[in-house]
Symmetry: C2
Subunit: 476 residues, 2 copies
């Protein structure tokens, strides 16, 4: 079967003829739609295949991880990263390269973070405070734990039942190609601390939202609703959470000593770095693509999201080097993504009056793109079909689900801009996401190149599409 067929089948337009039914002898297939064939564009195919030899993306992600390293939001390192970005984007030949600064309020900074089992089996545990976690006293707090296998169990705990105790939620995330485990298991981190605080808990520790089996805890933000005082909240490494679970299952009261001393340090400056490949038709709408420049502090921000800025920038450069196109391509290295998505919000606000044809981001690492989803308006549906045909030869299937976008371009999509999701395989991503292990060596150069090829083919298709790509219904 040709690699293109699944994409065609998914494009659902015409039903099989009776002759086709007889041929397959499968009545279920008869209910599938037979799309109109789409001729591959040889220019797009040539750009795509040349991108499979790309070195620019590696150069960017190797550079930012080596010459900057971790770049938490509002930090001095994030500032250096912006300067680095401007220099790099100018050197690559982009136009209108600039920083668009904005203020970040309530910057949260990590402090001491240690924990020990006090009884029955004294030993240290490895954990990391969640973003926006409250602090323990400087000398720490000592309290028994209440064990919850899942967030659901925590929800069922009676009000006040956690008073003076440390909630321990050990829900285990599974690896999935589409990363859906993050959403469903991530609520332990996103919502668990607020929930535990409302039930009176002194603190909460969760099993890291990750799919590895290692000692590197997974950082990440949490939030407390207005009026709920933040409690100390931390993620144990998966190995430590499993050990603590084994200790709990011995049946004795388990007491922890927990020291977390993060603090809020006020307002700092952050910023988006913007660069352009000008198009020939200013009325055709801008294509905004990118990833985020900020990173958590424990790793060096290679897969999250050095890879995303590298992939999208390398693809845009390939379009630039191939000559002028109809639409302007704007590459954005978004500032804050990790602590509230304020970079994407600032971008959408600053550029709300511009006409955008498309916005898309890369922010799930550097493993292969395996699926593409689009939500082009009816007038431009054929653009999506051409993208699917262009991507099929490099192993990308067409998805039927709605476009999700992501934290960076979400606020722009919410204004009614069409989006496209080039889904990356998340099977390995959450092994290292937000951990000390998010370093350059986790990136497979071959898969990084496949990403550049996918983005190049997508951009080449959209940049010169003769169709009007009008607004789509604004998201709620």
């Amino acid at each position: 079967m040709s690699k293109i067929l699944p994409a065609l089948l998914a494009a659902t337009a015409l039903t099989f003829s009776t002759a086709a039914q007889a041929q397959t002898g499968n009545t279920a297939n008869a209910r599938r739609a037979m799309p109109a064939p789409v001729a591959p564009d040889p220019k797009v195919a040539a750009l795509r295949d040349a991108a499979l030899k790309d070195d620019v993306a590696w150069d960017i992600v190797e550079g930012i991880t080596t010459e900057i390293g971790p770049r938490p939001d509002g930090s001095e390192a994030e500032g250096r990263a912006r300067e680095w970005a401007v220099a790099k984007l100018k050197k690559l030949g982009f136009k209108n390269v600039r920083i668009e600064p904005y203020d970040l309020n309530n910057i949260w900074e990590r402090g001491v973070e240690t924990a020990e089992v006090v009884s029955p089996f004294p030993q240290p545990l490895r954990l990391t405070a969640l973003g926006n976690s409250g602090a323990t006293p400087a000398e720490g707090l000592t309290a028994p734990i209440v064990y919850f296998e899942t967030v659901n169990d925590l929800m069922l705990a009676p009000e006040g039942s956690l008073k003076g105790k440390i909630a321990f939620v050990s829900n285990a995330m599974q690896a999935t190609q589409d990363g859906s485990g993050y959403g469903s298991n991530g609520i332990a981190r996103f919502l668990g601390p607020n929930l535990a605080a409302k039930k009176g808990a002194a603190a909460i520790v969760i099993r890291s939202i990750g799919t590895d089996r290692g000692r590197g805890p997974h950082a990440g933000g949490t939030n407390f609703e207005p009026g709920v005082a933040p409690i100390p909240a931390a993620a144990l490494s998966v190995a430590d959470a499993e050990n603590l679970e084994r200790i709990v299952k011995r049946g004795k009261t388990v007491t922890l000593h927990l020291t977390l001393t993060p603090k809020f340090v006020g307002t700092r400056t952050s910023g988006n770095v913007v660069a352009e490949v000008p198009g020939t038709d200013p009325k055709a709408g801008i294509i905004t693509i990118g990833g985020h420049l900020d990173s958590w502090d424990l790793g060096t921000g290679a897969i999250d999201d050095g890879a995303g800025i590298a992939i999208t920038t390398a693809a845009a450069k390939r379009l630039m080097d191939a000559g002028r196109h109809r639409r302007t391509i704007r590459v954005v290295w978004f500032g804050d993504e990790e602590t509230g998505g304020w970079g994407g919000i600032a971008y959408a606000k600053a550029h709300a009056d511009e006409r955008h044809a498309l916005a898309a981001e890369s922010d799930s690492g550097a493993d292969n793109v395996w699926k593409v989803s689009t939500n082009f308006p009816e007038s431009a549906k054929a653009v999506g079909d051409r993208i699917a045909v262009a991507l099929a030869p490099i192993g990308v299937v067409r998805g039927r689900e709605d476009v999700h976008g992501g934290t960076d371009v979400g606020p722009t999509l919410a204004l009614g801009v069409a989006g496209i999701d080039l889904h990356q395989s998340a099977l390995r991503y959450f092994d290292w996401h937000h951990t000390p292990e998010d370093t350059l060596d986790r990136i497979d150069p071959e898969q990084l190149r496949q990403n550049v090829a996918a983005w190049t083919a997508m951009l080449a298709t959209v940049a010169d599409a003769p169709e009007e790509i009008g607004p789509v219904p604004a998201k709620p």
Copy 2:
């Protein structure tokens, strides 16, 4: 080809007949020796195969890692581990269970350990102090680094050329099944700091002696010769060492800030835990087997060496449960191995007057035994042949090299006791050795059981061997 053949071929006794040469048509094979066939012992085979379903070893290593965790030499946790060991060994039914205490001098304790690149690319680095490392001032020291790709390059550095500088040795260890990379690459840790100190270095950082690509640095001891003042010495994680190498290769002077505050805290008590399965013939000599109870502090001591005490104890229990045997089997959970091997030295000293038939240890993790080496005296050579035949069906080849023993039984072997090496595959071992990642989840229960089966078959063969197993030439 039968699984037994390689073992037989390695046992070298008779050359092929002319008929055999003609059959194979391979004259090289004609120079191989054809051993006398050895009838497998069905009792040994039955014990071995039953051990492939063992649960005792898992129970021990799960227990010690969960209920004790890290147990550094001379620590309060090591003391609790000894009490745990006594209770566990008694519960398993061993006789004469006791602690044999000894003093440990010059106990070294880890302190603060942080490092940052100051210039040209400021960012944190992950490292851990080497055992016996000197300390920096409390506020740390700042100095440029001098890069050496290998220890050989460090050796070639002129005397005094490192004055006021931090040596950085980045020699990369390769994974090998026999673990030989540890010896050849380990010299960067064993000898590098002493060498750098003698050349005037202010400090030394090395690439971890490990085969992973992670952020967990590999701890381990180093030594300074008398008269050489210890300098601060630490191992960078492999990922950090590779990043530092990339930074060095940008060609600018690289300055580090290094804070290491370990200290020597004097004398502490350590001890070996001893348990026995009494034999019927006290004159036939004791079989001493075991592993070490102590561990480095960063992990929970699962593969190093919870597995070793678990494997050898589970095998001894199988012999005990099978009825009485000729020779006494003594299981030793050695105390200090990691910081000088003082447990093995204390054992050899305390038991020098006893007759030992054999001493062997398990201390390379929990992956499959793949090779067996023996050094039985001429009078007992056949015992080795029978062991090889008993182990071949579970995938063990016979090695021709001399017995190495290890740190725990080395001092006993040095007295002229025969040894046996059941080599475990070290292909994964040095990914986690001495790191935070040395935790229970690194142990594959099936491979752990294969180890128990190998040790059971070996013990069953030796315990009832009718041959005298006399002394071998003492090692130099």
